[in-house]
Every structure is written in structure tokens, then in C-alpha cells.
Point group: C2
Amino acid sequence: MHSPGNVSVQDRPDPTIEKPTDAIIRIAATCVCGSDLWPYRGANDVDNAPMGHEYVGYVQEVGADVRTVKVGDFVVGSFMASDNTCEICKAGYQSRCVHVVGMGGVGTQAEYARIPWADGTLVATPEPPAEDLIPSYLAASDVLGTGWFAADAAQVRPGKTVAVVGDGAVGLLGVLAAQQMGAERIIAMSRHADRQALAREFGATDIVAERGDEGVAAIREMTGGLGAHSVIEAVGTQESMMQAVRSTRAGGHVGFVGVSHDVELPGNKLFYSAVHLHGGPAPVRRFLPDLMDRIANRMIDPGKVFDMRIPLEQAADAYRAMDQREAIKVLLTV
Amino acid sequence: MHSPGNVSVQDRPDPTIEKPTDAIIRIAATCVCGSDLWPYRGANDVDNAPMGHEYVGYVQEVGADVRTVKVGDFVVGSFMASDNTCEICKAGYQSRCVHVVGMGGVGTQAEYARIPWADGTLVATPEPPAEDLIPSYLAASDVLGTGWFAADAAQVRPGKTVAVVGDGAVGLLGVLAAQQMGAERIIAMSRHADRQALAREFGATDIVAERGDEGVAAIREMTGGLGAHSVIEAVGTQESMMQAVRSTRAGGHVGFVGVSHDVELPGNKLFYSAVHLHGGPAPVRRFLPDLMDRIANRMIDPGKVFDMRIPLEQAADAYRAMDQREAIKVLLTV
């Protein structure tokens, strides 16, 4: 991305092993993330940056210290590379590993990528997957793992009522996660017919089209005036955060994964809400083995969030389509 | 309290049973709360308000529907009256009961008080307590219960490192709670020698006198650069909240119980901190039976936070002493 709104595909040198813990992968599929739209729209600075942090692919080469993946393996990795051995990783927060490397800086919208901390970051499938499962594995790399973390952070449990603020890929996969975790009622907040339909397919039992005060009132009315037990926030704005907090009952849980932009949470509102608040960059690596099993067993089909598929060479069109909301999420074939 | 800084003790009509779920108690002891200092100092509006929300006493009269306490019982109640039967109460958030009544509006710095929802609010001792235990039971009514909730919200567990921001009665009793919950290391943040001494008596293993950036740096240095597992926030200012968040490791837990004043939490800092945040008005009622057992068995002595004791008639002196930090907490004998 040269500057906001200006994306092109160019030749760059092939990546090479820099540290003995690195692996080089040949990327099979990658995609554009909702968070890539922040710089595209000028909300974050950008200056000739490599782009992309979601990826699946085949191991091409490994450093001398790599033990758990080997050349030829099909692998899925998190958008944050982690050693998976430090105290923070062991506690399940690999996205805040003491040696974390953000894959956005590496740039996985590419043919090849260097993966730092390969053993701690990548998970291999037992054998190369069926072609039709590749979109789902790609979703696991970020949006599924992030929606799953949000549902986990919101303590979704069997019998609970869950509300989901945000109908992008992460919000929709938050719905799927809540369904898998046994929620009794899942209320998707969405104003777009196509996204409402996918939310229902993923397990939403109710749709609320209202936002802000009216959205909060609708959720409260549906929950005996109390609010939802668990609320997933997958946008990252002031309005969406307060909508999430205010839609949650006292003692309930908000899981927030929308990357915060210009959000200031009023302390007194948070205090008297008595909710639990937890979120941040999702530790996708914590959930990857489980998610990959569910995908392999065809228990879930998160790849459905990709409603457009085009070659990597046309990445600029992918950004445009997502920016214009012509697509929920675009898969780039490599 | 007539206006900021202006407190007097006056005759008011004796309270009477207004609803069949009420009880009237003859107050044995009451006290001044740190939160009473906000209006005293002009931070909250006040206009001839009855004051006080902490109390222990003897049941004088009960309404027709009261079943669990009887005339003559020695009782402890929370600073928030609750029915203890609604869905929110059953989930352990009695301070946000759908029928909640704040006892501050009733005013328990008095000889008698009407307690709404007596069955859901009051807990009786099996027999009248020894005189020397009364301060500890009084502490259970708010500051002990609040410090306990903060430690619970911060998920203090055996083997964990806990930091406590704030050295008022609640912070000090947060130290005691953390000790009872089996924390391995308890770092009290305090600049006052008398409070440091009491913190150590309650179980603090370390003292950090620095605040703000320096305080955060000290906690990080003591925890291998990671931050504490659990942090108790018991002040309620912007500085103390951010000190708490920044002293907590990724994936760790902040329990905040200082009543928020002019706090705005930056969303992006909270997002990247990856901490859990939970707090609010403590559901003291959830913890009362356990806390009262520990007091009866002399396992804990939270009454030590009262370092001054004067008759109710001299309440104005109690406010002055706490405002001037001449006393940590003043017990008013009735």
C-alpha cells in the first residue's frame, strides 16, 4: 500500500531464512482484513508498506532449530508470530508473547513469506487438505480465531444469551463461535441483508437492525430488561464499544476485538455497568489446533465469509470491493 | 451533610416500617467511608443529605414478610439493599439488583435505620458477637466486602503476584483478601508509613512507594518485566486506573472498586494491554456469610482499619480527620 487508497502488486526479493527459528512458506491463499481498511481509508498512516497478515501455505524451507513443521507441510499460522514458550504464551496470550512479531510487518499478501518463530506460530495439518477446506483454514488464521477469542472473552456458555455488535467477518464468525459454544440465543446486530443471512446460517437466532440507543433498547427488551449475558464487540468505535457495554447485563461479559480507534471509555459508566471487559489482539494460536480439528471434521465452515475470490495480482480490486462493502471478505488466490 | 465540608448531627424522625419487606435496626456502630469524602470535598453535589451507608446493629422491628432475621438479632448488611432473589442477585451481583436501594440515601450515620429488603440484605450472627468483633463486622458491611470483591474480580489465586493501587481502607483490605485467597506475593502501593505498616500486617510482602510511570516501572521490574497477575484498584482516578492497567500483565486481571471520578480509559491502550477489567459497586452481600464466618472464627481482623473511634455526635470531627488523612477510617459509636 503506497498511500491511502493506493494498492499495487509488485515484485520483491524472495524472503530467506534469517534466524534458525524461521520458516519460509509458499502461500496457498491469503486475504484482505477489515483492519487493512483503516490505513486504506487514511485512519492509520501508511507509506509503501507490505500488506497482509493472514495466510495458509506449504512449508518451503525451515531454519536449523525448527522442529514441529517440515518441508511440504500444509500450515496455518496466527497473524502474530509467537515463541509459544514464554510465560505469557503459556498463559494463552500468544498475541502478547514477549518475542511477538506482527505478521503485518512481514506482509503475507505475497507468494512467499518468512514466518518467525515457526514452531510457536505454525500448526500443520496431518496431510494436505482438500481444496475446498482451504478458505476455512485461511479464516482460522485471523477472523475465525478472533471471533472465537471474542466469544471466549465474553464467556459464552451453554444456555446463555449472546449479542454480537458488528457484522463484518469477525462478528459473523463470533456468531459461529457462540453457536459452537452452545449459546441458547444469539442476537446478531446487522443492517445488511446478505450479512444477516450469513449470520443466521452461522447460528444467529435473532437479528437486530437498530444501532446505538435503539439497539441497546432492543437488546434489553429481548432480555427481560437485563441485557445479554455475553456481548461480542467486533468494530472498534466509540459507538460500538458503548453499545456493547450497555447491551450487557450487570455481571455479564463483553469480549471486544475490534481494533480501537478514538475510543474513550467513561470510567463511571463502566463502573456502574458492573460488566467484565476483556479483549485485544486475539491469541489465535491458543485456539488453532481446536479450530483446525473442527474444520478438518467439517463441523464448521468459516470459509463462507469469503464472498469474493480473485488472484493476488488483482489485490487492488479486493481492497476496493471491501472498502465499498461489495464484499464481506476477499480471498486472494496465489 | 449540609454542603461540602459542613456536617452536623441533628434529630430526625425515627424510621418506620414502610413496606412488609423492611426491617428497622438499632445501629450499634457506623462509620465514614472514603466515598463520603467526595461530596465533603465538593467533587459531588450535596444539599442537606443524610449520610452513611455502613452499619451493624440489632433488629428492632420487622415487616410482615420478613423471614430470615428476627427482633434482637445482631445483623450486618451491605451498603446496597437487594432482594437477593432476582436473576442479577442470583448471579452474584446484588449491588445491581433489579430492586436495589442504595443505603446512602437512607443514611446510616444514625441511631436507627430502615433497611429495605431485609431478608435479601441482612445477615444475622448466630448469637450477639463479642464487643471486640464489632469493628470487624462493621468493616464487612462495605470496605472489607469491597476489597474482597476487588480481589475476586482480579482473580487472585494461590501462587499469584498481586499489586494493590490505593492504601485507603479498601486497598488495605484488598491486601487482606489477597492474603486469604493465597496470593504468593502482595505488593502494596503506598507512601504513608502507618498504612504501609498495616498493609504488612494484613499480608503485604512488598511495598512500592512510587506512583504513575515510576510505580508501573517498579511493579514490572519486580515481575520479570511482565507485570502482576492481578491488580486491585481502590482509588478511582485517571492516574490510579491507568497505573492499575499498566501494572497488569497481558492476560492478567484488574479488579477496580474505586468510585470513578473523571476517568476516561483510552480504548487503544486497553485493547493492547490485553488485560481483563472488572469492577464496580461491590456485591458485598455475595461475600457476607463467608466474611462473617471468618470474623467469628477470628481468622481475620479487618476492624484494624478503624484507627479512630468517636461518638456519633462528633461525626463532623470524623469527616475532618479522614479528610486531613489524620485517620484511615473512623468508627462512630452509637
